[in-house]
């Protein structure tokens, strides 16, 4: 049970508190996870980060820098947010949750079904934060999700899509507010009718959201294969396990279907910058 509540007003103070209070202390953003009675987290101390002024959204050299305490709903409402990210945010169907939950919370929560994580991954997002000693930290989101260091997230840096690149997201749920069984995102460019630098991510098939490097490499530079061939690539790249949400076999099938569709959607929306210029 939480015994201590702290509301630091500077980043330095926030990390100092975390360092001094130890593993039982958690940064509190929206609180939709931390305060939920369904959560397995049992914080001894909460470090409320709402006074750190991290609810900003700025453009910075071809990227969008989104403050960690920007809520999911604010993200949806902010004009510069790229459409696929907005779509992914809207996949959290429950508006009450969107009004309260933050992007930083979504990332730090690192759930394998996190609605925005596949989209952020294929958009090449990076995180900025402070490590436990208060040192500046910047890393690929992918590395952050893999290593999950106990850092204070300050912002998520999302590169704005380069010309012609397109991203598609999707998720599989059984009902409107269901926690998704599978989430997918695909992003790619198009060069001379060929797939260019595809990035693929899936959630729900491993303990965290994954990038699928093998299929990415197979697709890169080639003409878009038939759906059945893409599904085969995806199938061999994942090994989901059966649980309450669905059997392993079914999850694998759904991932293949959703991600193949997303690949096709992204490819057909992608534009070859060369042909663009010519046109």
């Amino acid at each position: 049970m939480t015994m201590g509540f702290h509301r630091p007003t500077s980043l330095a103070h926030a990390t100092e508190l975390k360092a001094s209070l130890g593993a039982g202390a958690f940064f509190l953003a929206g609180g939709t996870e931390l305060n939920s009675r369904a959560s397995r987290l049992d914080p001894l101390h909460l470090i409320d980060i709402s006074a750190l002024e991290l609810d900003f959204l700025e453009k910075e050299r071809g990227s969008l820098v989104i403050g960690a305490t920007t809520t999911i709903q604010e993200l949806i409402e902010a004009p510069p947010v790229p459409t696929p990210l907005r779509q992914a945010a809207l996949n959290i169907t429950n508006r009450n949750i969107r009004n309260q939950a933050t992007l930083g919370g979504q990332v730090a929560n690192n759930k394998n079904w996190g609605a925005l994580l596949p989209a952020l991954l294929v958009m090449g997002a990076r995180i900025r934060g402070l490590d436990e000693r208060g040192n500046h930290l910047e890393m690929e989101l992918r590395d952050y999700l893999d290593e999950h260091p106990p850092a204070l997230l300050v912002s998520i840096v999302v590169p704005l899509p380069s010309a012609g690149r397109a991203t598609a997201v999707d998720q599989f749920t059984r009902s409107a507010n269901d926690i998704p069984m599978v989430t997918v995102a695909a992003s790619m460019g198009r060069r001379l009718e060929r797939v260019h630098r595809p990035l693929l991510a899936v959630g729900g098939v491993a303990d965290r959201v994954l990038r699928l490097e093998q299929p990415e490499a197979l697709l890169d530079g080639g003409v878009l294969p038939e759906p059945a061939a893409i599904r085969r690539m995806i199938r061999s790249a994942i090994s989901p396990v059966s649980d309450q949400k669905g059997g392993a076999h079914f999850k694998r099938h759904i991932t293949c279907v959703l991600l193949t569709n997303a690949i096709y959607t992204a490819f057909s929306a992608a534009k070859d910058p060369g042909t663009e210029e010519m046109g």
Binding site: N35, Q73, N96, N99, R174, D178, I179, H249
Partner: protein
């Protein structure tokens, strides 16, 4: 303790709080009762929602300390007399009936979207937030605004009407959208949309529910529950718990009354066996009672539970019908079997295990508990073998239904207290008089020592027809003298409340080539779980509300109900009929396919119609001889015709998406209107000094609009404004007896009793007026409002009240009315739907759903539609997404609203219609028949047949998951 300051509905507030305290709990402690609790802080129901700086958030997910400096608004701020609007009034709990409603609240009330009202404050805030940012929202934006709020009652559809109505009124439109169709031009109130009588108070978030009656200082009861599905308690030590300061009482199988009873709230003598003690040594399901603790606070009670030392002798659990029926299966009830009457001559209790207690049948229902059989019955008409011999086509299929939970937003809750030596029970129940009878028997006291007050009920849906917590709190209060609150957690609601019986139904149908049915055979096996609540009647109702839809000379049914160790089952809106209907309607759909006939044509050929004699009902009584019934009214013809037209039956739809196939399906449905010869209802009406009235009704309104029905009966009959009738209902001290709200009896029985009381009052009024006007009664008529007109003049009810209540008068006019009947009035309906099936993912989306219901005269048309929307959406949920998952040890894996997947507003069909088909029924009050339960019978078969139409596979078990559909389609 820390300080937190914020603005509550415009007023600054500074409070002390602990670090972990949730905003909801802090607000509750401040008397803000409208932030409700529906999910124990999981954040999944939205019942606790408040506006935080103008944004809707769940106050159970916010720490109090998080709202430092922020602006918090509750439903109270909507009231036009709230200080924020420059008026006067209690800032937090506007319960003063003089307070007016805001335009939003009025629109909610007028459009019939306030049913139980437990979710209403949250819904209102969601719409408020929406309209503050979006002047003219689209339907999708309305859905998005309400996407986090769970409502089990309404089916959400009428929220769109409410928003439209509010906007039209704001715009000063002359042409307001109609909230519902009108019926019966000859009547003033009946058949017209009029505000639900309890809705304004609920829309204000006023005190109404059990939890709102609980004063400070009340003790809390918590239950230690079995972690095992099947076990004996081998040792139990409560001494450490008892020694904990703040603990008043610990109750176990050792000190509870040694009395057997049934939880089922049914008329005495119940067909359900008395197969439980309050606590027993044998534990029969995960969640079964081990010990109850009464303590000063919930926290102390929880700590005490942890101090109870229990050892279990774990037994093999029995979780499904096949296992229960297998030779040598562990008996769930291995104790002695007794009969109050009619013990079979071969009754043999040798080898009964005393640790298992007893099973006492009030009369034989052919159970054999040692073989896990709780009840058995068979019967039929004609000659089934001959019928099959006459058939050109015979099909045999098996259908399965799953275990689903009622999930009322307000869980089971009771507040018990002593008052002047009597026990008072504030209950959220469907059956106040059965609660009183069962509790007094358990306590060994007279019924006049117990008072049960039914408070507003935050949803029930059958689960509150059983007495699953009242008797424990009542006993503890009686023994300790302490006032006690016992409220189920959401998890307890799943594992220790009531659910639908899983069933396996084998159907065999025979028909001639032209589609004429020659034989129908239904072999039904039901899983009742640990106790036999409704073990005979629910499965029988599955037969009696599905077979009589068809005219067939040769019908046979067999029902066998098995005990097992799954969470308890019982009554659930529809009472078995949704499952019987699934099997019978699906079998008809499959028969049509087999015959190469159109499904609708096959139904038309064989269906019941006005004037049909239902012989089959002779053998489908509730544990006794039934009687055949003539169908006096039946709206199936027009319902089928209109439904088929509207959905363009027979026309194939195409989706632009190559992965999507679209199909259409249909089902016909029926129910009853209470139980002829079994149910009874009573009412009383008294004239006040100014000619207004007090109506006392035994009827138990669960949010369905029954109170509005009874008030309407009196107002219509006596030609008075509805506001001139005040109502007290369902208080065993004050109002006359009523069996309670079940078996679709409300409008027919309780409404009928109110009408009979009003008719009797009318006769009295005419008698007095005749005396006052010196005219014979034949010359007199009632004239609206509140006047008796004769040839020579008129008298008002005010005059009559003064005349009768004066020193020379005949005394205050007071009349009673009761309703019993031997006649049945069956509601009918036709449900049509269109589904889109994704052939790659197996996902099903219900695009259109049209429920056309014949409820005779719809007494409250907008509320009748609300019942239909609510019933249909629940069962769309049961068909597609809801299901209690148990592991191999009988533990429920998803005892919460989120992972159980209750339907939310974004789950409703894109085009959702509840249409009322008028028929003229001779028996019910003003021709009213029932409407709620029947609405649950169509979704499963209509959707399953639409899936078949779309992708050619029959899915014969609930729920129709994507995984099952793909498998049936032979996909990987």
């Amino acid at each position: 303790m820390m300080k937190v300051r914020f603005f509550l509905d415009g007023s600054p507030l500074e409070l002390q709080t602990t670090a972990h305290r949730r905003l909801r709990d802090l607000l509750q402690a401040q008397g803000v009762i409208s932030a409700r609790n529906g999910c124990d802080g999981h954040g999944s129901c939205g019942a606790c929602a408040v506006l935080v700086d103008g944004r809707l958030m769940n106050s159970c997910l916010l720490l109090a300390l998080q709202v430092e400096g922020r602006d918090i608004r509750t439903v109270a701020h909507l009231s036009p007399s709230h200080p924020l609007h420059g008026g006067k009034g209690d800032a937090r709990v506007p319960s003063n009936p003089e307070i007016q409603l805001s335009d939003l609240q009025s629109a909610f009330v007028d459009s019939g979207v306030v049913q139980c009202g437990y979710c209403t404050p949250a819904m209102l805030l969601a719409v408020k937030e929406l309209l503050d940012r979006q002047e003219h929202p689209s339907q999708e934006q309305v859905k998005d605004a309400l996407s986090g709020i769970f409502c089990r009652c309404t089916g959400y559809q009428q929220i769109f009407t409410a928003v439209q109505l509010a906007l039209s009124r704001r715009a000063g439109a002359n042409d307001l959208p109609a909230v519902a169709p009108s019926f019966r031009k000859d009547l003033r109130f009946v058949g017209k949309a009029t505000p639900k009588v309890d809705a304004p108070h609920l829309a204000r978030g006023g005190a109404a529910f059990v939890e709102d009656r609980v004063p400070p200082g009340t003790c809390h009861l918590k239950m230690l529950r079995s972690p095992h599905a099947h076990a004996y308690i081998s040792s139990l030590d409560t001494s450490r718990a008892q020694a904990l300061p703040g603990v008043h009482y610990v109750l176990t199988h050792r000190n509870c009354p040694d009395v057997y009873y049934t939880h089922a709230g049914q008329g005495f003598p119940e067909p359900s066996p008395y197969d439980r003690r309050m606590f027993s040594r044998k534990l029969r399901h995960v969640g079964d009672r081990v010990a109850a603790v009464v303590a000063d606070t919930p926290e102390i009670a929880s700590r005490a539970l942890a101090l109870i030392d229990v050892e279990y002798e774990v037994l093999e659990p029995v979780l499904d019908i096949d296992h229960a029926a297998a030779p040598g299966a562990p008996p769930v009830h291995g104790g002695a079997v007794e009969y109050v009457t009619g013990a079979p001559p071969d009754l043999d209790n040798d080898g009964a295990d005393p640790r298992d207690g007893k099973v006492i049948y009030q009369f034989p229902i052919h159970g054999d508990p040692r073989r896990n059989i709780a009840a058995r019955v068979d019967g039929g008409i004609g000659d089934i073998q001959k019928g099959f011999a006459q058939a050109d086509v015979i099909i045999e299929r098996e259908y399965r239904t799953s275990q689903v939970q009622c999930t009322p937003l307000e869980p089971h809750v009771v507040f018990t207290r002593m008052e002047e030596g009597r026990l008072v029970i504030h209950a959220s129940t469907q059956v106040p008089w059965h609660v009183r009878r069962i509790v007094s028997r358990l306590l060994g006291v007279r019924e006049n020592q117990v008072r049960v007050i039914k408070e507003r009920t935050g949803g029930a849906f059958g689960s509150k027809q059983d007495i699953v917590l009242e008797e424990v709190a009542a006993w503890c209060t009686w023994v300790t003298g302490k006032p006690i609150l016992f409220r189920f957690t959401r998890e307890e609601e799943f594992i220790a409340s009531r659910t639908r019986h899983p069933m396996e139904i084998r159907m065999k149908l025979g028909a001639r080539k032209d589609g004429t049915l020659t034989a129908m055979e239904m072999d039904l096996r039901a899983n009742t779980g640990p106790f036999g609540s409704h073990c005979l009647t629910v499965p029988m109702n599955a037969c009696s509300k599905s077979l009589p839809l068809f005219l067939c000379d040769n019908v046979f049914f067999r029902v066998t109900t098995y005990y097992s160790n799954i969470p308890p089952t019982g009554a659930y809106q529809g009472y078995g009929a949704p499952k019987g209907s699934f099997a019978v309607q699906m079998a008809m759909a499959e028969l049509a396919a087999e015959l190469g006939m159109d499904h609708l044509e096959l139904l038309e050929k064989n269906r019941v119609r006005q004037g049909s004699m239902l012989e089959i009902l002779r053998c489908l009584g509730e544990g006794r001889e039934g009687s055949p019934q003539l169908v006096h009214s039946c709206g199936l013809g027009p319902a089928l015709k209109k439904g088929a037209h509207d959905i363009a039956w027979g026309q194939r739809e195409q989706s632009p998406d190559p992965d999507i196939r679209i199909g259409k399906g249909l089902a016909i449905v029926q129910q009853g209107s209470g139980l002829p010869d079994l149910d009874s209802a009573n009412a009383a009406i008294t004239m006040f000094g100014d000619g207004t009235f007090m109506l006392l009704s035994g009827g138990t309104d669960l949010g369905t609009g029954l109170d509005t029905v009874t008030v309407k009966m009196a107002a219509e009959c006596l030609s008075i404004p509805m506001e001139h009738v005040s109502l007290v209902a369902a208080d065993t001290d004050v109002t006359p007896f009523d069996v309670g709200a079940y078996a679709s009896s409300g409008t027919f029985f309780s409404g009928g009793a109110a009408l009979n009381a009003a008719r009797s009052m009318k006769r009295m009024i005419l008698d007095v007026a005749s005396e006052m006007l010196h005219e014979p009664v034949e010359n007199l008529r009632l004239v609206f409002p509140s006047t008796v007109e004769g040839k020579s003049g008129s008298v008002s009810y005010l005059d009559i009240a003064r005349f009768t209540q004066g020193g020379t008068g005949r005394g205050q006019l007071s009349a009673t009315g009761s309703f019993t009947t031997t006649k049945a009035s069956f509601p009918y309906g036709a449900h049509f739907c269109q589904v889109a099936v994704n052939v790659e993912t197996g996902q099903v989306r219900v695009q259109r759903y049209y429920a056309l219901q014949d409820c005779g005269t719809p007494i409250n048309p907008e509320l009748a539609q609300g019942q239909i929307y609510g019933g249909v959406l629940k069962t769309i949920g049961h068909s597609l997404q809801e299901e209690m998952l148990l592991d191999e040890n009988g533990r429920c894996l998803n005892p919460d609203l989120l992972s159980y997947r209750v339907p939310m507003i974004n789950d409703i069909p894109r085009d959702f219609r509840a249409e009322l088909v008028y028929t003229d029924d001779p028996f019910g009050p003003y021709g009213g028949k029932s409407v709620s339960e029947i609405s649950c019978n169509g979704a499963a078969p209509a959707i399953a047949s639409a899936i078949h139409d779309a992708v050619g596979v029959w899915i014969r078990s609930w729920p129709f998951t994507p995984e099952k559909i793909l498998k049936a389609m032979g996909k990987p």
